[in-house]
């Protein structure tokens, strides 16, 4: 920022501060020369480039608008019967004797009546509360925590209590991989639906879920034939763990109930035709 720009920025900051002082301190808003401030803002406006400078300019305009609003309120107040020249009033305050001032104030002062009184039902209620209140040394007594001895638990018990799963996820994954390899056999690959398709929809979903992890963790890969709309799964003989770190592409495959139903029907028809 050049020295000239810095100087202009300081000038606008000063304008903002002056406007804020008028607003916050109740200074006569007419003591500001609005025209001069507007011409200052106009003068520096072409120099602003950055959003920060524009924001300062906008803030200055907003503060100025607030001063103008204040001027309106000031005029409105002066036109009311409550307005009196502050100097005249101050002079009166200074000159009046304490007793005279009290005399005036007493005439316009109408203190609020407020009463506080206890009632018998409330006192009875309070006594009942007191009786039921546990003494403070008992209330603040430290509770002794219950002692619990250590013991042993078997894995089977933890599985029964649903704390542990019967099989770990990795065990499930490896089992699926073995199953895939077994189903592929010598063919090297299998149609996606032929692998995941099971007798029930739930089993199909479970198989599809595990298949997604087989591919992600490098136990198998997918072969896509977009023109034939066919997807094959190719199991690896050894897991390629390096693939797990670099997921190259995501393949969304829809497994809706209708699709499963259609697959199952086709499979039945195939079986019938073979027979």
């Amino acid at each position: 920022m050049s020295n000239k720009e810095k100087l202009s920025g300081d000038r606008i900051q000063r304008v903002i501060e002056i406007c804020k002082t008028v607003d916050e301190r109740g200074v006569d808003p007419f003591s500001l020369d609005i025209d001069e401030i507007i011409s200052t803002l106009q003068k520096y406006f072409p120099e602003w480039d950055s959003p920060e400078e524009m924001a300062i300019d906008a803030e200055a305009v907003q503060c100025l608008a607030s001063v103008i609003e204040n001027q309106g309120n000031w005029v409105k107040y002066r036109s009311t019967s409550l307005y009196t020249d502050p100097f005249l009033l101050e002079d009166k305050i200074q000159r009046l004797k304490k007793e005279d001032f009290i005399g005036v104030f007493i005439k316009v002062w109408t203190p609020v009546i407020e009463m506080e009184q206890l009632s018998i039902p409330y006192l009875t209620e309070a006594m009942k509360y007191w009786d039921s209140l546990v003494p403070i040394d008992e209330r603040w007594q430290n509770d002794n925590p219950m002692e619990v001895g250590t013991g042993t638990i078997t894995r089977g018990e933890l599985v029964r209590q649903k704390i542990f799963a019967e099989k770990t996820f990795m065990e499930d994954l490896v089992a699926s991989w073995d199953q895939l390899k077994q189903m592929v056999g010598e063919k090297k690959k299998i149609l996606y639906w032929d692998f995941i398709g099971c007798n029930t929809y739930k089993e199909t979903l479970d198989r599809a879920y595990m298949t997604s992890f087989l591919v992600t963790y490098g136990y198998a890969t997918l072969e896509l034939h977009p023109l034939d709309e066919e997807v094959f799964i190719i199991p690896f003989t050894e897991p390629r763990l390096e693939l797990a770190d670099k997921q190259l592409v995501s393949v969304p495959i829809s497994i809706s109930f209708d699709e499963w139903d259609k697959w199952k029907e086709e499979k039945l028809n195939d079986k019938k035709s073979l027979l």
């Binding site: 009033l89 104030f105 007493i106 109408t110 203190p111 009546i113």
Partner: protein, 183 residues
């Protein structure tokens, strides 16, 4: 229940609500009166006002913000706060009985008048300076704290003093300025 019995019951309830302190501040909000007395509570208050007049008391309504120019709407009344105050002026000697020393009351009157002359807001420094011209410094600070604590004055984050709820409820600002000017 006859109409008279109905209003007698409501007036008793209104009296309890208006006279006894229920919260930190005295008085009661319009919507609280509406909940306790029903939507015709302005009528109940009018009847109660007639009773209070004989005791030289009155029900004072302090609206949120500025006073409505015409007859207040039910919505404005619901948001307003109602107090029971003394109706006419007090004899000078009675002020002493209310726990006010003459110096403290004169200081309050001065602070209020000065703030009115400054359009309802004046810097605390200026008010203190004005009071110091006639009162010892230690007393000025103590008094301003008392005026603020009692709800006569409020102070904002810029150390500006303004007239708070109690002044609006208890002091006829217009009459105060007029009387001061004629002195």
């Amino acid at each position: 229940m006859t109409k008279k019995a109905y209003y007698d019951r409501k007036i008793k309830r209104a009296t309890q609500l208006l006279f006894y302190k229920h919260h930190m501040k005295p008085g009661v909000k319009g919507w609280e009166l509406k909940n306790a007395l029903g939507s015709d509570y302005p009528k109940v208050l009018k009847i109660l006002e007639n009773h209070l007049e004989k005791l030289d008391l009155q029900i004072k309504t302090v609206f949120e913000g500025e006073n409505p120019s015409g007859e207040p709407t039910l919505e404005e009344l619901n948001k307003a706060r109602f107090y029971v105050t003394v109706r006419g002026g007090l004899p000078e000697k009675d002020a002493k009985m209310m726990g006010w020393r003459i110096d403290d009351l004169a200081g309050l009157a001065t602070a209020i008048s000065y703030i009115i002359s400054k359009k309802g807001k004046a810097s605390r420094d200026n008010v203190e300076e004005l009071l110091r011209s006639k009162l010892p410094s230690w007393r000025v600070e103590m008094n301003i704290a008392r005026y603020i604590r009692n709800g006569y004055l409020g102070e904002d984050e810029h150390n500006q003093l303004y007239l708070d709820w109690r002044t609006r409820a208890e002091v006829d600002q217009k009459a105060l300025v007029e009387l001061l000017l004629t002195k």
